[in-house]
């Protein structure tokens, strides 16, 4: 005779329901807690608390300590305002570079970044102290030369045009890579016909062509077949609704960045990688970056855009992540490239003295007390702007007059 357990079916049902329900609860609780508790700033996480990325609102507040007028503070604000509105008459100066152009170490009241100072200093040279240029800050952390081509074409083809003069800080370290970040690639879809035309017009720059070709969405796959407007729209709506309701979904990108940060932190600790560890620039990405820059300069020339390049300052200490032979090669190649393409090239490699650089804080995760080789202080930004005014100020004034005259 067999005995039957009267609560066995209920127990078995409970056993079945336990994993899915417990999983769902864990995902919602842990995920949302993670998303809300640990607010992660992808821009500064890999850097440190002492590093400040300039945002709108700083300059006006700091106007008195910076020794500038309120009108100048407004100009400085405008220089870092995204999607700055242009009147279509005033010349446009596009300022690009990597995070060095955006960030200030050990920020003090009154500190501003180079493009802000540049707008003010240029206005001071104009007869009525009105802005000579609309300065547009288009720098991005780790900006590659592939991204610079895309940014320039985007600004040149914008109506009204957003670039008459390109002032670009060239950073040796960024010549180690030639990829394009997703957000820039996605926004660049309408530009691909122009980019394709540029590639075709420059058959002598194969490495640049290859980099741009592979930057196009899902090169080598039939991504167009996957572009389904109806389904994509529906998916976007569902995602937007989830983003609105659940922090877990809204903060997805930041959470992914945080995982990547943990990975790099772990890697650095395990392999004893420090900020001073040598970072050689391999020949192939370097060559491709040079070609991409040449393509940028040729494009600028074809669109009557004036170009000023400057070799970004390097911290003058040893050990240094930049290898001397790489720096030498860079300082030799860049001026000849600029001369070939009718651009100005300024070598500011040794411009910023050691005392205007700083170290990471002693409690910074992964970089405790190490030297920061990428970013400098507010005083160095001012120094860079002053030097630019000395070296190309008069030239910028002439160009501004010519552009205005041509428009009127």
């Amino acid at each position: 005779m067999t005995t039957t357990d009267p609560i066995a079916p209920a127990r078995s049902r409970l056993a079945r329901l336990y994993p899915p329900f417990a999983t769902l609860i864990l995902v919602l609780v842990v995920g949302n807690l993670w998303a809300t508790r640990y607010r992660f700033n992808a821009l500064t996480a890999a850097q440190n608390e002492r590093l400040r990325f300039t945002q709108g609102g700083d300059a006006q507040r700091d106007a008195s300590t910076a020794g500038i007028t309120l009108a100048e503070a407004k100009m400085a604000e405008q220089a870092v305002t995204q999607n700055r509105i242009t009147d279509g008459v005033r010349p446009q100066l596009m300022f690009t570079g990597n995070s060095q152009a955006l960030a200030i170490m050990d920020h003090k009241d009154g500190d501003m970044i180079t493009p802000q100072w540049l707008e003010i200093l240029l206005a001071r040279k104009s007869p009525d102290a009105s802005p000579l240029y609309d300065v547009r800050l288009c720098a991005l952390p780790n900006l590659t030369e592939t991204e610079l081509v895309i940014e320039l074409i985007g600004a040149a083809e914008h109506q009204p045009r957003q670039v008459d003069v390109l002032l670009s800080g060239c950073v040796l370290e960024e010549f180690r890579g030639i990829s394009v970040r997703d957000e820039l690639m996605n926004g660049a879809t309408p530009l691909w016909p122009s980019i394709d035309a540029l590639v075709k017009a420059n058959p002598d720059l194969p490495e640049a062509a290859q980099a741009l070709k592979s930057a196009q969405p899902a090169a080598g796959t039939s991504v167009n077949q996957m572009h389904v407007p109806l389904a994509a729209r529906f998916d976007d709506r569902v995602n937007a609704a989830l983003d609105r309701r659940l922090p877990l979904f809204a903060e997805r990108a930041k959470m992914q960045a945080q995982i990547s940060f943990w990975y790099y932190d772990l890697r650095n600790r395990a392999l004893r990688i420090t900020t001073a560890t040598a970072r050689p620039v391999p020949q192939q990405p370097y060559q491709a970056s040079l070609e991409l820059l040449e393509m940028t300069l040729r494009y600028a020339r074809s669109k009557n855009i004036h170009v000023v390049l400057y070799l970004a300052p390097i911290r003058p200490v040893k050990p240094n992540p930049n290898l001397p032979q790489d720096v030498e090669r860079f300082r030799k190649d860049m001026p000849s490239l600029a001369a070939r393409c009718g651009a100005l090239c300024l070598d500011y490699t040794d411009l910023v003295p050691e005392q205007l650089w700083t170290n990471y804080p002693d409690d910074a995760a992964g970089t405790q007390g190490q030297r920061d080789f990428a970013h400098f202080t507010g005083a160095a930004h001012k120094l860079l702007a002053d030097r630019l005014m000395v070296d190309v100020g008069p030239q910028l004034q002439n160009w501004a007059r010519e552009i205005k005259a041509a428009r009127q």
Partner: protein, 472 residues
């Protein structure tokens, strides 16, 4: 609509709730067919038109073959399907691909997604009828077989004798179906979105397989080997992950599809690999191409030639480009080589044990893994020139110290590879340990494991992702 999008998962849940209470198999078939057509139409109405036309033609051919299974009718059926493939797969490709010989523009031709998959399903139906298998699908059943949404885009390549009884079964899905289906969708999403995505793009942009293949043209030997391994892992996670999702989706409705992968990188020989990688297609090639060809003539050289030809056509199935053809031929050569070595060994030492010791197994495994990964260089290359350059670089020992890829790529690939084998090993150990205490502990802990997997899927779901096998 892609099977790894949020909207797909919502639609899947909605369809499941709609179908669950249905008791009539015919009504269920009609709803599944309508859902399949809507799903396919989201990729293009013109694609759907081609699929329906192919369905009608093949169904009518099937009826004729059932009445009189003659070789002439079979050849007409084959020709019609080859024509569909030529018109809608190879002609558009030829205009752009490496075999760019035709003097016309191919841009006017549409290229329905999955055309090679459902055409092969149609062909297997005709072959089975010619072999006088008892198949009598209704038009609805055959249309569902051709367009069933989990398989229509990228397989698994199913066969009607296995699908028909499942379409006709009256009871709905069991609890086991739902639980296994959900788990397979979850693990598939993890493999596809997280693992394949990370390998493709890298932890940071420009540090993944994609950049390694697309941005450079002067690789060192280590670069090529690491790229080959990285891409092999990416393709596995991508396609096996996709297969998990679609097999799981079908399982939610009580339908068991053919398996596509069975731990292929654990294979000890290339022959074994082809019984574990893209199984639904490799078995199709074996049953409907290789075996009929190999049995045409008796001599051994002919069998080897048939194998080489079958594998080359297998490569050509992926696309009319030289890299795919070379990849197929490469595997043909490996398989023939393996056969010849086996025959020679048997002749030299007939008493030899079939169970080699651990070291020999490890060496055989490592050699097989290396050869298979090297083959992926052909598969991923944009041109024959790139493939041959990379292949040559892999053995260029004079530049062994040269490498152009970022150290982070090496680190990531090595980490993923190690993680995969360690994780797979742990799984095998757990499966073997049949202690009740262990089972209970695993059951208790399972939500933590599932939750971590789901969280990673959600976190990575914002990243752009493409499916490699959509192009076939």
């Amino acid at each position: 609509m892609t099977v790894y999008s949020v909207s797909y998962l919502l639609c899947l849940a909605g369809l499941w709730l709609l179908i669950m209470p249905m008791r009539s198999a015919i009504v269920r078939q009609c709803v599944l067919l309508a859902a399949s057509y809507v799903f396919y139409a989201t990729h293009g109405l013109d694609f759907l038109a081609v699929l329906i036309a192919s369905t009608v033609v093949n169904y009518l051919m099937g009826r004729l073959l059932r009445k009189s299974p003659t070789i002439g009718l079979l050849w007409i059926g084959i020709a019609l399907n080859v024509l569909i493939l030529a018109l809608f797969k190879y002609l558009p490709e030829a205009g752009h691909g490496a075999l760019a010989w035709p003097p016309y523009s191919a841009r006017w031709f549409i290229r329905p997604i999955g055309v090679s998959f459902w055409t092969f399903q149609a062909l297997s139906y005709l072959f089975d009828l010619y072999r006088e298998e008892e198949l009598d699908p209704t038009p609805i059943e055959f249309a569902l077989y051709m367009s069933f949404w989990p398989t229509v885009l990228s397989g698994p390549v199913c066969r009607l004798p296995e699908m028909l009884p499942q379409f006709r079964q009256a009871p709905g899905p069991t609890w086991d179906d739902v639980s296994r289906g959900t788990w397979r969708i979850t693990i598939g999403l993890f493999m596809k979105i997280v693992m394949a995505g990370v390998l493709d793009q890298g932890i940071m942009p420009g540090e993944g397989v994609r950049s390694g293949f697309d941005l450079y043209d002067a690789w060192g030997p280590l670069d090529v080997w690491m790229l080959a391994v990285g891409y092999g892992m990416q393709l596995y996670f991508d396609f096996a992950g996709y297969s998990h999702i679609v097999i799981g989706s079908a399982r939610l409705f009580g339908i068991e599809l053919l398996e596509n992968f069975d731990r292929p990188y654990f294979s000890l020989t290339v022959s074994q690999f082809w019984t574990r990688w893209h199984m639904s297609l490799s078995f199709w090639i074996r049953d409907y191409l290789f075996l009929p060809l190999a049995t045409l003539f008796r001599p051994m050289w002919w069998r080897n030639a048939a194998l080489l030809l079958s594998m080359t056509l297998f490569g050509f199935w992926h696309g009319a480009t030289w890299p795919f053809v070379l990849w197929g031929a490469y595997h043909g050569v490996l398989l023939v080589g393996h056969r010849l070595i086996q025959q020679t060994r048997r002749r030299m030492n007939p008493e030899r044990s079939n169970n080699p010791h651990s070291l020999e197994r490890f060496i055989t495994w490592a050699f097989t893994f290396a050869l298979i990964c090297l083959g992926w260089v052909f598969f991923r290359s944009h041109s024959a020139h790139q493939a041959i350059t990379m292949f040559a670089s892999a053995f260029d020992l004079t530049h062994f110290r040269t490498h152009v890829l970022r150290p982070n790529f090496y680190l990531m690939t090595a980490g993923v590879l190690l993680g995969y084998f360690v994780f797979s090993g742990i799984r095998v150990l757990i499966e073997r340990a049949d202690a009740p205490g262990m089972r209970r502990l695993l059951w208790l802990m399972s939500p933590a494991y599932y939750a971590a997997t789901v969280l990673l899927i959600i976190v990575w779901s914002k990243q752009e992702t493409v499916f490699v096998y959509f192009q076939f």
